[in-house]
């Protein structure tokens, strides 16, 4: 693999172009690494070890009692931040609040369906279901660009 770095002062933001003959595991890993570079949280795994959890790999974040947990497809990590802090930090990374205790990664949503009492049901990429509570349903709709969601 060849690596070229070129400084172009006129660019408004950093651009990365990956050229490949065939899309293989190496290319996928490269794309994943680039996508998630600089977007990591320190998370404590079930063994008590601290690991860097890439934001792009987080499906959702949930507050349980006084702890906050980040759920990946492969595991759960305790995060030493409050849900409010994470909500602010991750808004630009396409995370949205769906209930008092949960923030979801919009990119991890596979499908959406309406539920009773104006709630919304989300099916995540890992097959798990989450429910958007009635109070956050409009915010969620506007977050995905739907008409009828509340304007912010």
């Amino acid at each position: 693999m060849k690596l070229f770095l070129r400084e172009i002062p006129t660019l408004s933001e950093t651009e990365v172009e990956v050229r490949f003959r065939e899309r293989d595991q190496e290319v996928d890993n490269l794309v994943r690494s680039i996508s998630s570079s600089g977007d990591a949280l320190a998370g404590i795994n079930d063994k008590g070890d601290t690991e860097m959890v890439y934001v792009s790999q987080i499906l959702y974040i949930e507050a349980v009692d006084r702890d906050v947990f980040a759920y990946k497809a492969s595991g759960v990590y305790r995060i030493r931040k409050t849900l409010y802090e994470l909500e602010d930090d991750l808004r630009e990374k396409l995370f949205v609040r769906i209930s008092k205790s949960t923030i979801v990664n919009i990119k991890a949503i596979k499908s959406i369906a309406p539920e009773d009492f104006r709630r919304i049901k989300l099916l995540l990429n890992n097959g798990e279901y989450l429910v958007v509570s009635r109070s956050y349903a409009n915010d969620f709709k506007s977050a995905i660009g739907m008409k009828g969601g509340s304007e912010k």
Binding site: V31, S35, L94, I106, K107, I109, S111, I112, A113, P114, E115, D116, I120, K121, Y129, V131, K141, I144, G145, M146
Partner: protein, 151 residues
Amino acid sequence: MNRSRVKFSLIRSLPITAGTFILSIVLSAVGAIIDGGLIDPWHILVIFGMFIIIGVVNFFRVFIDDSKWARSKPSVVKNFIFGPIYFTLAMAFTIYVTGGVYFPYLIGMGLLFLAIFMIMQTVTYFVAKKKTDQMNDALKIFLKEHEVNED
């Protein structure tokens, strides 16, 4: 049973049961005014007893709603399970209060329930389907707009 799920189901089902209980008392009063009769105090107790049973059914409905099985099914499926239970309870109560079974009335009520229930569920299904399609289209567009440019 998970304690937090039980608590959540109780908190959610109680206001629904209390609300429908109050509504049934008001409707009974309206019926008595139209009919020109008086409500038997015993019937109020019977209504209360019926709503305790309905409360238990509501609790299980909310409890099941929170399960993975129920979340993977459209809400119409749950209505098909619980609708006939509510109808049976209402009919049992009516038979008890009126003091006997009048079969043509029972069959008529059954057919009326079936017709209204089927129409309501069909409408609910198509409204929900339209909303589902709109939401998924919005999600699809949103994800396309924000996906990694892989040209």
